[in-house]
Symmetry: none
Subunit: 206 residues, 4 copies
């Protein structure tokens, strides 16, 4: 795995650095595999280092501890999983149903790709994580309010609670379908169902 660095002419600094970065990446990738396989609690520093082909003592040159490397893996995965539900903030004039369906489909596909790690996230989710979602919920709630004012959505719904409920409906359905269930689920069919439930529930004019 390791490439032998160039002989000591005088330039050991650069290959050293390159090795370090490579090892850091190896640890991250190994951590993801180990976390997915063993869960957060059972994952051991030693296992992560072993999986990366490094001595366990080396781990601490790159990460202060298990929580931190977990956070780093979360950050990696989060790039694909930013949106826990379809954003209703599409440009004016676009078909809102199509927008919702596209967002749902994108989310479900991303979830499916990262299903093992997302399952892990659900178990480790802490209060902090939950509050991170609040912004998204607020954004969705604002969109629902706008639709209500425009006479396009059921005016009897509480925008905040409806936003919450529909958001968790999508994310938790993805969890049930991809992280827990064993039988393969037709992603498009699930996306279509979620979109229709969403549209129906808001009584979006179609």
């Amino acid at each position: 795995m390791r490439s032998s660095p160039l002989p000591a002419t005088g330039s050991e600094a650069r290959p050293r650095r390159a090795d370090a970065e490579r090892n850091r990446r190896a640890l991250l990738a190994a951590a993801r595999r180990v976390f997915e396989r063993d869960g957060f609690v059972s994952a051991r520093i030693t296992d992560i280092a072993d999986e990366a082909g490094l001595a366990h003592g080396c781990f601490y040159s790159h990460f202060p501890g298990k929580e931190e490397i977990f956070a780093a893996v979360v950050a990696e995965v989060s790039e694909e999983m930013l949106h826990p539900g379809p954003a209703l903030t599409a440009p004016a004039g676009s078909d809102p149903v199509a927008v919702i369906e596209a967002a749902n489909l994108a989310y479900l596909e991303a979830y499916r790709r990262n299903a093992r790690f997302m399952a892990l996230l659900e178990q480790v989710a802490t209060v902090n994580d939950a509050f991170l979602r609040i912004r998204l919920l607020t954004r969705n709630a604002r969109a629902i309010r706008r639709l209500q004012r425009a006479g396009l959505a059921d005016p009897d719904l509480d925008p905040d609670l409806a936003s919450l409920a529909l958001s968790v409906m999508v994310s938790r359905s993805a969890y049930a379908a991809f992280a827990v269930g064993r039988e393969p689920v037709d992603t498009a069919r699930l996306a279509a169902t979620l979109t229709r439930l969403w549209v129906n529930s808001l009584r979006l004019a179609t």
Copy 2:
């Protein structure tokens, strides 16, 4: 890990000494408090025994280990939490919306009462648990199919996926509202919102 997930509660109900039963109950109550406070993994046998006012060695006279006492606490809580979503199988002739609202409200109230422990359960939930819910989902899916055939529900919905989505919408909203969120949530208002979303999403004739 260990064999019997649910210790036989019935057969040991009549112990030789009343003290023994009292201490068993004390351990159960203490375990619930400790689990809610520290989570399953961090909970220590010693803490549970301490919380119950007993020596830690005594713990093993009543439960084989941490998993078993956890299962016993789960069994206790489960009596209140049997229904993860509103059952659509109300007696014919009753107002379906009222039925749904009543079921939702009952579920949310029960969830709120046991919120701390339910939050714990979500984190410890295993694949097995998920499959236990399938029966309920199947029942709900059947109800949706029946309504569709009767022309009372949106015929374009996939009954199985819709059943899943609405079920997790309710349970996960409860989790977000009572187990994670800090601000008190108006249970009635949440129940009303969930019911309306449910009715709307199925396009139940009202």
Copy 3:
């Protein structure tokens, strides 16, 4: 062993006492079985009491601890196993070879009957036990000296060391044959061999 004293007039004294003695015997018998099955170290007070059909707390009404009940079992078995080798102190005029053979045979038979417990004894044998044997050895050594003086035994042998060697030859052969070996050993044949070795080794005039 102990005779039950006269009852105190007409009360519960007699059955109580009788019960106590019966339980003491039950514990002794149970202890022997448990020791033979599990060895001294692994034997637990609880197991002995269970085997006797008594509560473990009851054990301490009869014996102070594990060592003491073990000693009591040893005492029981010792009644059959007093002689670790053939005594050479037969009445004058009797055939010495016949005496040796009879003694060996008796010892081997007794060993075979108590083989499981004797095996245990070998493992638990302490320095103290060893010194208990010294008297027997001294007695045998005296006999050898007498035979040497009478010109009936090899005068070049050290009587003390020969006594020791021949004694352990018999007892350890019994151990190997009955306590360790799995195949059944012909006791008579072993006795005959030991006797012949003994006679030969002392060069007893035959």
Copy 4:
């Protein structure tokens, strides 16, 4: 209890750090002292590590548990104690009595050097150990048969049983003399006695 009775000593002979090997040796030496002092059962991992000047956690870097380090000590001692009795398989033409005496003396000396640990071995001896000796016994039994056929040994002896008896006579005399007895025993004198008993008992032509 655990799987490998003898840890591979050869493959780990060249550790990355010389310290590791030194500490492994320190643990072995410490274990021998602790086992001799406290016996197998009472010996604690902590004591062994303390005796070696190491933290107890470090023990597990070198040995999986108590049984394994004991086996390793046994292996060490066994190099000196391979022969539980004099081998009768001397080259033709050599004086058989001298051969027996030399073998006995060598065995007794080795036993004396390792007396404390041999005493321990006797107590921990299991059925397995006993069967390991069978080969040696078989070899001796063959030698006795050969002597009998050559008219040089008592033809009335059962070769197998005699072989067993004489073997245990030697090993158990060593035990009595060096492991149990407190008074110093003259090794040469004991060897001479055992040899004479051996020669006499087989009626070896001298």
